[in-house]
């Protein structure tokens, strides 16, 4: 095995070992190239490295020779939630509840490969994760007193999403100044949602209403149900599934040499993910009713079972302009729109229901509503060469959250974000090393939605994220720099 192939194989192993996604919030990840991240991702009109396969695949048509590129991003998300109301007696930590995953460092890796076939055609293959999520408000053990647990646990405690695109792309040089590219991707998605259930204030009442006349005959059933709901255990549900779907990507890049101005357009399709997975349930023990009912009552009512579901990740529309005519610097601006309004709900369909087994209480369908709105990002970046080998970058991005107030909670503790980034690259022979750092300040967000009162997810969300990344670009053949 030749050395480059061996290196490639090793790096692929590293990549697949570390695709454990987790940015925060409304699950878009835009920092998939270290160079672009240093410019706050204003890269649609630049697209001059392997990450063009993500930012604007038409960019690879201008890249000569063969390029390998590996980028790794580390996210340190600091999520805090101070509820505005809690069940009486709840002991709230002085600095609120943490939604940070453990360990705090969440790696996100990307791999890009491009090869010019001839002056007109360029082939590329990218493996990257444009969507990911990982948050964890599970600050408790199941057996802990209810009053010490995270009060919003009935709205969710843990969310995890990984959507990885394996995208071969072909780019065509229309003329010396412009190019077009199309990619077709195999999109592999994994989703996990974990939450508590049998909330004494909501779904626990269903059981209370059903049994009120048996447990408390003669008592107003509505009042009895409220008390019975408190005699139930707390349930924990976990739904996890995977999906494989097609995705599409297209881009256009125009370079006006005289004015040193580039214009780029990019479209990435929405992906409909049809999940197949498993739903599992557990219950705290003991509980007051336990010794008075069939010991298998709840395991029979909520059996582990196959589950299907579906959800849509949004399409992305990007337009960017860059110019390098002034101050020996490159300045770029991007505007991106993501039609998150496609992400309305996640229907979960259970395979075992009361219709087929009278002991079962899982419904035929449970639909989790989110009703996101469209989001947009405005990014601007700056790059300047200090010398032939060293380049520095900086950038700023505003990201409008797609998460509406009613959906802000432990799974999506999101808010509008201001991102500031810096980065640098150093070339050494055929290799280029890149570093970047981003500070992501989420605007403090206070929610007060009546419908969420019994889930105790109203309150102040105070988040911050550090993003750091490195990139390695290997260039073989053609010029050592991009055209």
């Amino acid at each position: 095995m030749s050395r480059p192939v061996l290196q490639f194989a090793l790096l692929m192993m590293v990549f697949f070992g570390s695709v454990r996604l987790a940015d925060s919030s409304a699950f878009s990840i835009t920092e998939l190239g270290a160079r672009s991240a240093g410019m706050a991702t204003a890269f649609t009109s630049i697209a001059d490295d392997g990450s063009a396969l993500f930012y604007n695949p038409a960019g690879i048509a201008f890249q000569k020779g063969t390029q390998f590129q590996f980028d790794t991003l580390v996210v340190v998300g600091l999520f805090r939630f101070n509820p505005s109301s809690t069940p009486p007696g709840t002991v709230v930590p002085s600095n609120g509840y943490s939604g940070s995953v453990k360990p705090h460092f969440i790696p996100v890796a990307s791999m890009f490969f491009t090869r010019r076939i001839n002056p007109k055609w360029t082939f590329g293959f990218g493996s990257f994760a444009p969507f990911g999520l990982s948050d964890n408000f599970t600050n408790f053990h199941d057996g802990d007193p209810a009053i010490t647990k995270f009060p919003g646990r009935f709205a969710g405690t843990r969310g995890r999403l990984e959507e990885v695109w394996f995208q071969p792309t072909i780019a065509y040089r229309l003329n010396p100044n412009s190019s077009l590219a199309v990619g077709v991707a195999w999109v592999h998605t994994h989703l996990l949602l974990e939450q508590s259930f049998l909330n004494p204030r909501t779904d626990g009442l269903d059981f209370g209403n059903e049994t009120a006349n048996q447990i408390f005959p003669g008592v107003d059933p509505t009042l009895a149900a409220r008390s019975i709901a408190r005699l139930l255990p707390e349930g924990r549900s976990r739904v996890a599934g995977t999906a494989n779907s097609p995705g599409f990507n297209a881009g256009y890049l125009y370079k006006h040499a005289a004015s040193k101005t580039n214009v780029g357009l990019m479209w990435r399709s929405a992906v409909v993910n049809h999940l197949n997975g498993l739903a599992s349930f557990g219950f705290t023990s003991p509980f007051p009713l336990q010794q008075f009912v069939d010991k298998d009552l709840l395991p029979k009512a909520f059996p582990t079972q196959k589950t299907t579901g579906s959800f849509v990740t949004p399409a992305t529309y990007a337009v960017g302009v860059s110019n390098s005519a002034f101050w020996h610097s490159l300045i770029s601006v991007d505007f991106r729109l993501q039609d998150y309004q496609r992400f309305r709900s996640i229907p979960l369909n259970f395979s075992e229901t009361q219709a087929t087994n009278p002991d079962v209480r899982t419904p035929a369908e449970k639909r989790l509503f989110f009703d996101f709105r469209n989001s947009y990002q405005i990014a601007t970046g700056f790059e300047r060469a200090l010398n032939p080998k060293t380049v520095v970058r900086a950038g700023y991005m505003f990201d409008r959250s797609p998460v509406v107030d009613k959906s802000v909670g432990p799974v999506f503790p999101d808010a509008n974000r201001n991102t500031f980034s810096v980065g640098a690259s150093r070339t050494h022979g055929d290799m280029e090393f890149t570093l970047f750092y981003q500070a992501v300040k989420f605007m403090d967000r206070t929610t007060n939605v009546d419908a969420n009162a019994n889930q105790f997810t109203n309150g102040l969300y105070h988040n911050f994220a550090h993003l750091m990344g490195i990139g390695l670009r290997l260039h073989k053949g053609g010029d050592s720099s991009t055209p």
Binding site: S85, P87, P88, G89, P145, A146, I147, P200, Q214, I215, F216, P217, G218, V219, D220, L223, A224, R226, S227, R230, L231, P288, Q291, F292
Partner: protein, 401 residues
């Protein structure tokens, strides 16, 4: 400097505001730990007529929360200190299932058991068989705390009051204990039957610690002074009831100033039994000692309640006020004298009007403490239907001496 001062004031103000934040009250599951008073014991037994109108039941109704009770068919079960303990006969005359409704609720929230001392609330659990012919207290305990568990199978848990309360995962717990101890000491004129304050403190703290494990809000009540109840009649009051002059009673029975007469004595005076039944006269000194000891226990309840963050209602003060001032409800002028309208036939346990009054006072305390707005019971509709109000003495003409 001005900025610093303004900042300091803001800080102090915000700190105070934080400290004064009103705690929240959740009444979803209201559980009562107690003895006869909270159970609704009246006249000479525990039975549904009074249970349904006991002060915890009235509170639950006004708060709009479920409050399943261990209702007992008439003529009831249990006994009242100061009166002969009847043999255990369950089911008694006119009783079928004893507990009602049938089938019974799986759990009850009024766990108060007539005759339970503080230590019983922590330690005494149901023991099979359900009816213990030689042990009335155990039988009552079984019927309240062990039913229907004892008939559902031997594997069902049999809880003490404290354990039961914890298992019900309450949001609000009311503790009314200590009155049985005080009443037993008073009716037997034996102050030393009262528990030692130190021991009482320890046991009360243990109980509240157990209940605190549920994170429920806790309401505690002080112990009423039995001497303030209608069980104890002054010589003048006795004279008025029996149609004898105070002088006649004093000379005939060798009574001293301040002596208090029990209902037993009142029953015998009209038929001129001499001497009065043993133990039916309590000396002023003994009464004072009882009162002192009740106050000592109440001091312990106050301390423990404060330490536990419980809301303390001063039931002792209410009984004292009723003794001093009586109660006017509509056209009724009720007094704390025997058959004065406030107390049932036993004299030591109140009628439904007083229960409603207690409920209103505690609800008012909750409204003040938690900024809630629970409506109060209308005493003018309660009193006309209160058997205690209707038990009034005939206007007995004074018998010529």
């Amino acid at each position: 400097m001005k900025k610093f001062a303004a900042g300091l004031i803001c800080f102090i103000w915000s700190t105070l505001a934080l400290a004064q934040q009103t705690p929240k009250l959740d009444t979803t599951s209201f559980v009562v730990v107690g003895e006869g008073l909270a159970a609704g014991l009246a006249d000479f037994a525990l039975r549904d007529v009074y249970q349904k109108k006991s002060f915890p039941a009235v509170m639950a109704q006004q708060m709009g929360t479920a409050f399943p009770q261990p209702l007992i068919q008439p003529p009831g079960i249990g006994s009242v200190p100061g009166f002969p303990v009847l043999p255990v006969a369950v089911p008694g005359p006119w009783q079928t299932s004893v507990r009602k409704p049938f089938p019974p609720p799986l759990f009850v929230f009024n766990l108060a058991v007539p005759g339970h001392h503080l230590v019983d609330a922590v330690n005494l659990r149901p023991v099979p068989p359900l009816v213990q012919t030689g042990d009335l207290k155990q039988t009552v305990t079984n019927l309240i705390l062990g039913y229907p568990a004892m008939i559902l199978g031997s594997d069902k848990p049999l809880w003490t009051q404290a354990e039961y309360a914890v298992e019900m995962n309450p949001t609000l717990v009311l503790v009314e204990l200590g009155y049985t101890e005080a009443l037993e000491a008073a009716v037997h004129a034996k102050p030393n039957l009262m528990p030692d304050p130190g021991t009482f403190h320890t046991n009360y703290a243990k109980l509240l610690t157990t209940l605190q494990s549920t994170y429920a809000q806790i309401i505690t009540t002080t112990i009423p002074d039995p001497i303030d109840t209608a069980y104890f009649s002054t010589v003048a009051g006795s004279a008025q009831l029996t149609g004898r002059s105070a002088g006649t009673l004093t000379s005939r029975y060798g009574l001293k100033t301040g002596d208090l007469l029990s209902p037993d004595a009142l029953f015998e005076i009209p038929i001129e039994t001499t001497p009065l039944p043993a133990g039916s006269v309590t000396s002023a000194a003994t009464a004072a000692e009882i009162s002192d000891r009740v106050r000592a226990l109440n001091a312990e309840i106050t301390t423990v309640s404060k330490n536990a963050g419980a809301v303390l209602y001063d039931l002792h003060a209410l009984f004292a006020r009723l003794r001093t001032s009586g109660l006017s409800v509509g056209s009724y002028s009720l007094t704390a004298n025997y058959l004065g309208g406030l107390y049932s036939l036993s004299g030591s346990y109140p009628g439904t009007t007083v229960h409603a009054l207690i409920a209103n006072e505690i609800l008012t305390l909750l409204n003040q403490t938690y900024k809630t707005s629970f409506p109060l019971a209308d005493l003018t509709t309660v009193a006309p239907n209160d058997p205690a109000v209707r038990f009034r003495p005939f206007a007995v003409p004074e018998v010529a001496q």
